[in-house]
Amino acid sequence: MTRILPRKDVVIVGLGWTGAILANELTDQGLDVLAIERGPWRDTATDFNIGYMQDELRYSVRRDLFLQPVVETMTMRNDPSQTALPMRDFGSFLPGNGVGGAGVHWNGHTWRFWDSDFKIKSNLTNRYGAARIADLQVEDWGVTGAEMEPYYDQFEYLAGISGKAGNIKGQLQQGGNPFEDPRSRDYPNPPMDMTYAPTLFAETGRSMGLHPFPTPSANMSRAYTNPLGVTLGQCTFCGFCERFGCANYSKSSAQTTVLPVLMKKANFEVRTDSEVLHVDLHTGGKSARGVTYIDSSGEEFFQPADLVLLCAYGLHNVRLMMLSGIGRIYDPGSGEGTVGRNYCYQTNAGTQVFFDDKNFNPFIAAGALGQTIDDYNGDAFDHGPLDFVGGAGINCIPTNGRPIGTRPTVPGTPKWGSAWKKATVQGYKSTLSFSSQGSSYATRTNYLDLDPTYKDRFGRPLMRMTFDFPDNDIRMSNYLCDRMEEIAKKLGGKQYAVGRRKKGWDSVPYQSTHNTGGAIMGIDPKRSAVNTYLQSWDVPNLFVIGASAFPQNAGKNPTGTVGALAFRAADAIRNHYLRNPGAPLVQA
């Protein structure tokens, strides 16, 4: 028996980065806002205790803070000819859970995508011809870098990003990224103090004529008070960043930047340990009435609301749309339907350089403490003579020396025994690692839909992920590996190893939790699920906020762009949508 609850102005599904930003903005507007979060309440002092946060087994191997597959997982296959099977344990990507979501345990690399990323289809077609991208399904986003700039700025100042601008209003800045789009002002915090490995990497890169710069970091380089008046502390280089909550308030998250202000508002409420089962639509399916959710005792509730925001993480946003009958599920055969279309990922490869005579103190680290080279990213370089499009950031960001997972040895080392032990001691402090994080461009057959066989604990179909790296992206990645080899040689260790990306995406070893697409933004309702304000074309009082909006992924971490899109959506809702609620902001 579903209990019907008193109406709210706004229901937000999920209280992570986007949920917290939207909740704060809309409560400032005077609306009554409820967030419903599947996972538990999480708070720094109680959940990221400074005495037991440093537990690699618990948080990195057993993954206490993450979404557990028993709660929800996906089925996967590389292409439609295979049968998708469930990821019984997550491996390649690890979705977050709980208040703060993955924003609690991310590393903090915070990027802006480029104008050339947003206009990718027109840009690549003009520059290289349509034939070059014929086997890809890339789409323009419908926004420009200049339109996004103020929202990037807003997110970066909310989060206190530590970095060095490369281009302020058209003026190139020494020490920053010369390839970035113009920004209106510098980062709110200076770059972090560098450890040895990224310093050596940058020196080497510079000596080769490349342009390394400090990775823009959500680990605070100094104590910082954001525009909401919330203060973060200085990062202490603990080396327990990704997969861990921050014990001393020095990593940006909903907890450390928004919640102290949001939680005090009388017009905001969060219900935790409650899972939204689906969005409820009015007859005709053209507007949302609210959501139905179930709490951990098994009781079901209907929560009526005038405005519904899906902020549940890109993948879960898409699945909720599918389970709720919002829009049409994409069919790769016919090309019809937009929900599930243009699913993309990240195309990564890695390099290790082994030294005899260096001590990198790998345990002195932070999630985003490092140096990046963007010379071969996106369309920053001329692909004319090449056989691919896209590129990758080359990142030397050694985040940890946690010994269960991080104990590099030279290739050919046995995995156990005395020889293994000796090589492990030898390699632990003296190995320099860097990697390429590459773009992931959409194809017709990389997509999401609902699995025909496997169900979740409530009997709802799991989402099915059909994905493999397009040939284009493999060629791109190999090119980047060749460039990484050049850097590795110049670094001058006793030997190096490059791990190249191959076809046949393997769901087992960890690669990246940058899942994008499935509810992409755009200007054409036939090829996108939401408009450029992330408002659903099909259900105008529903907004879908997250990396689900990305038509394809760039060679950069998504969070900066996710945060910017959240602020852009908030701006559109506050200043336009609310003047005429229920109406589309963009005429199709």
Partner: protein, 405 residues
Amino acid sequence: MKTLALTFATGLATLALGPATAADQADQIIRGQYQAVLGDCVGCHTRPGGKSLAGGPPLETPFGALVPPNITPDAETGIGNWSEADFHNMMKTGIGHDGVRLYPAMPYPAYTKMTDPDLSDLWAYLTTVEPVSNKVEANQLPFPLNIRFSMWGWNLLNFSEGGFAPDPSKSAEWNRGAYIVQGAGHCGTCHTPKSFLGADQDSVFLQGASLQGWFAPDITNSARSGLGKWSEDDLVKYLKTGVNAHSIASGPMAEAVENSTSKMTDADLKAVAVYLKSLGSDTVVAAPAKPEQARMVTGEAVYRDNCSACHGGDGAGAGALFPALAGNSIVAQGSTETLSRLVLAGSQAVHTANAPTTPAMPSLAWRLKDQEVADVLTYVRNSWGNAASEVSASEVAAVRKELTQ
């Protein structure tokens, strides 16, 4: 509504005054609301999540439980059938409506100093509070303590009724501060040591007292344990925002800041600062003995591994986030109760509009043995220019016992 009826009646009787009456009454109610801020009535009389002034959570006294009653104007369960005279009498003498004697958990020994106009204003405000039906059984003390008549004897020994007598040799600002601190602010209720019978020991006014596992520190101008290192601006900032360069309010003071001092006028805060900083405690305290080196060594190890990532290797802390331990007056108190409690149980800081971060110290009771807590506190109390007595493992054990029972 009572106010409207009053206005109407007054208006009928004194037509000549016209609209000025309504405005005067509005002013009085606004002034009265400010008196309620100064007196922090909600601090005791409102339950978390409950309706304003409809009754608070129980005060666990060593004598038993007392429950702050419903003081909304509800006729049956609140003070709706009290007169203004009843209220004045209660605040000034501790004897309420129908002669019922209050226990000094209700700090009438402080409120007795309030002037009649201020009490009238407060009463006017209280009559406008939304009436809530909520029956509260206030007296839950065991026999024979629950016999209120025994308060007659207590009052004889410990209480002198009377208003505040300004000191003509001091400035108006000083007197205003004294009036607030001694009267509505009832700071001594927490910060003044108590006698065996639970009365304020006026000879050591505001020199620090223990209550329910927290040591409310010395807030006289003593250099070692009081506000001597704070400027007046520091103190104003602390009361207004909960945060200054020396300290971050948490525990019971966080609540006092959030409900009361952060809502006071800047002028009143300055007056309070002027007054408190004029209270020198003239007892010369000998420098404490230096702790043995072995304890400083183990204490430093515990400090580095547990504390330095927030409070800094140099004890400098980080602004609004982590209080500095160097030169921190809580660290320097004679009593180490608060310090043990902070380390064992953790603490959540104040939240004000100017300082919204609300950081919290994590609980370390699960990790540190009593001896380790004692050693690290000894280390902190004697590092970076701090000098204070050693802490024993048994002191820590006593606090741990109280926290876990």
